[in-house]
């Protein structure tokens, strides 16, 4: 187990090099740079622009040179300063990562919490009205564009006043709140974006869970268990579930990438200050240090997610050994 973990983590290192190099190359190759908006300011002279270009090493088009300017401090743990904001990349990105993890994590929990029982119900009541209803919900979740769904939710919040219209906490009262109030406030803001992001993931899991369950239920050992006189509840939870859930965990590893990509849009519409909004802004303003550091964070999150999926699989399925 330990050697497996170490090997997987080491394999992530070349991956990070390749991904960051490609990212840098694309940033260099794409026209324009961070100074574009500044160059359009009528109050700004050529000399100032030239000074800034030298300062940020934007005066060279050599990919290797530009990559080196980033890489050398980065391997020493220094991700530098953001171009657009006068703050270290670390200070900007740290909290954003936590916010994104909070949103995606709770969305994951939400989708699993609903997907497994719904998938099981759909399989047990196959082709009955309950199955069709669940099918409808999951197709709704699969097909609705997340931006539209987010806007609908915000509209719902604005019309009813039950939930806040976006954001992560009450921006005005936050500094006078007690820790408990802050916790509740964050939770309250989390509900709608979590539902949006969770529903999209849930839809996928429900379909998968249903088909796995149907297959499992038709197998001999289920008939044996039922014949032994076990209750239907026990057969389903103890015998069928463990077998049916196996492929879902494999999907979980892959679906992390989709989840993070989906989070970008949802974060943007809800004004959720996560990694998604940060990357979006950084890309549109060509804030290279932020883009690079975010890419590193995303790769790490994906590697970690896949690793967790593998470990979970080994725990649940005794046939799998991590060597």
């Amino acid at each position: 187990m330990k050697t497996f973990l170490i090997r997987r983590l080491l394999a992530a290192i070349p991956l990070i090099f390749v991904v960051t190099f490609i990212t840098k190359a694309m940033l260099v190759a794409s026209p324009g740079n961070y100074l574009d908006t500044i160059r359009l300011n009528p109050a700004i002279s050529r000399e100032y622009v030239a000074q800034m270009e030298r300062m940020y090493h934007l005066d060279s088009d050599n990919v290797f040179e530009r990559y080196w300017y980033w890489l050398w401090p980065a391997v020493q743990g220094d991700f530098g300063y953001s171009f657009t904001k006068s703050a270290t990349v670390g200070s900007l990105i740290g909290e954003r990562v936590l916010n994104t993890l909070l949103l995606t994590g709770s969305a994951l929990v939400f989708s699993w919490l609903f997907a497994i029982p719904l998938g099981m119900l759909a399989a047990v009541y196959r082709n009955r009205w309950l199955d069709k209803l669940i099918g409808f919900i999951s197709f709704f979740g699969l097909s609705i564009p997340s931006v539209f769904f987010s806007l609908l939710m915000i509209l719902f919040a604005a019309k009813t006043g039950l939930f806040p219209a976006g954001g992560i906490h009450n921006q005005v009262m936050w500094d006078v709140m007690t820790p408990w109030e802050r916790f509740v406030d964050t939770l309250w803001h989390l509900v709608l974006p979590m539902i949006v992001l969770g529903t999209i993931g849930m839809a996928q899991y429900v379909r998968q869970m249903r088909s796995e369950m149907i297959e499992t239920l038709s197998q001999d050992f289920i008939r044996t268990a039922t014949a032994k006189g076990l209750s239907r509840w026990r057969v389903l939870t103890r015998h069928a579930l463990g077998n049916a859930i196996n492929p879902l965990i494999t999907i979980f590893g892959f679906s992390l990438a989709t989840l993070l990509a989906g989070a970008l849009l949802v974060e943007y519409v809800f004004g959720w200050p996560g990694l998604g909004t940060l990357i979006f802004d950084a890309l549109s303003s060509k804030d290279e240090p932020i883009v690079m550091a975010s890419v590193v964070m995303l790769v790490l999150m994906l590697v970690a997610g896949n690793l967790i999926a593998d470990v979970l699989l080994a725990i649940i399925d005794p046939r799998i050994r991590l060597e």
Partner: protein, 604 residues
Amino acid sequence: MRKIVVAVVMTAMIVSAGCRGGSSGVVSGTPNPPFQGDPPQDAYVYTGESGVYGGTIVLSEPDDIKTFNIIRASDTATADVLWYNVFRCPVDYRNGGNPPDFDPGLCTKWEESPDAKVWTFHLRRGVRWSDGEPFSADDLVFTYNVILDKNVDTASRDVFVEGKNEKGEPIYPSIEKVDDYTVRFNLHRPNAAFLEAVYNIWLIPKHKWEQPWRTGRFADTMKLSDDPSTIIGLGPFRVKEYVSGQRVVLERNPYFWKVDSRGQRLPYLDRMVFVIVKDFNTVQSKFQVGEIDVMPRVRPQDYPLVKRMESADIKVEDIGVSYDTNWIAFNQNTESNPKTRKAFVEPWKLKLFRDVKFRQAVSYSINREALANTVFSARAVPLYSFVSPGDTTWFSDDIMKYPYDLARAKQLFADVGLKDTNGDGFLEDGEGHTVEININTNSSNSQRVETISFVARNLQDVGIKANAVPIAFGVLIDKMQSTFDFDALMLGWQPTPPPGPLGNKNVVCSWGLQHACFASQEKPSTEWEAHIDQLMQEIESSPDQAERHRLYAQVQRIWSEYLPEINLVAPREAVAYKNKFGNLHPVALPPRATWNCEEIYVKK
């Protein structure tokens, strides 16, 4: 069972949190945080309507701020949050004055020598920084020296340039401390607009930043990640909290140097909160549920929708024509690419673009009224020069106008030798080239994309094969300022206060980086460009204000005749806000709503 109980408790919690509602604090009548020390002996006395203490104003801001270092800042979000509110210049500018004009602010008065070469500023005595340290002439001298330091990256330095010395280095006015409360600027040549330049000196405390500056670490100061209590200014508020991508909270500066006519110290509000929300739909929702008090900028296309929200508590106010302008410029660059030796513009096209009659014909072909009514939701006015009619101080109406006139346009096109010779519906020049023009703008701005499609259709109506081609912002700026490979491009300018000739120098003068039709010319390529350059120079050195207005009107006249930029429309501005605030008088000049933040109060 236990699970059900937990679920019920959670729901109750969430609902109770939801019912708390209400964004701004109540008006307490007592300042919190309280004032400290005594008001300065020379306090500025504000004579307008008095208010009561307490409360918060919550504003939306579309972008995150970039820095607390006001000297290095160059973006609108940072300006919206920090200018006026946290930092002040030696003089103030009342955006909402009638007319908008300079105000003594931190000075008791200023004096200009008859030849406009010596400017003396008398500072108020007893003023304190937001950390309680005394403010004096040393701070002004220090800030000015920081701005002039060529190792400091600041856009403020350029406005002080007075020309070049023998070595080709820029020269600047020198500064001299006469006594602790008097500062004198000695200029090399007359500059009647020097106040406009002084309005770029956002004062920073010497006692705090001299050490880092002397050791070359000025760029590391006042970072967003720094402790907010180290951000010290002279504005009515100081930074309390900054959360990246979410909000900036300002609280009362307890040492602020203004009092009202009843002797109460300013500001009235306890706090200002800027909530950073990018998506305009979300901003509207937040405004509707009361999480935001003021939407400082309602775009023309959103106005009809926002206007419907108006009620007893909410006001959606039209604040007049914007200072913003937009335009299309044809490429008049006569030079060649130094690498390929190929001309930037094909010779037959260049001949057309440089022909003033061609540009005038294009201007007559554009139906500005219809453009305003469709793309700008009937919230824009036609624009024929680079100064918007919204700028009531400097706008001149004595300019050439180009009302929609197809016959006139066709006549002018015929005059420059364009004719449909092969009967395909498009005009050709004498050598048989079909006149095909690509109009570029940045694809990220949907309003601009719609505008160029509209203009392209207008041009097709008169036989010009015009295509609307939206491109990435970076590519567009490259085309305008360094690669010069375009036919026509469309963009807009957003002037910052104070409006006037100084802020437009780089746009109208032929050497300017933002002179879009032919940027950064070594020497003016036409007589009218040379004339404009010379007039702009005269405006700067003319000590007589009326004379400066006359000269600037002349620049606008030449501009409208020769059309280096074909100006299109100027949008109307609107601000949506809660009715509960007193002294909130939004104007079209940024920051629109909070230019008098120390005077705003919450009505009881």
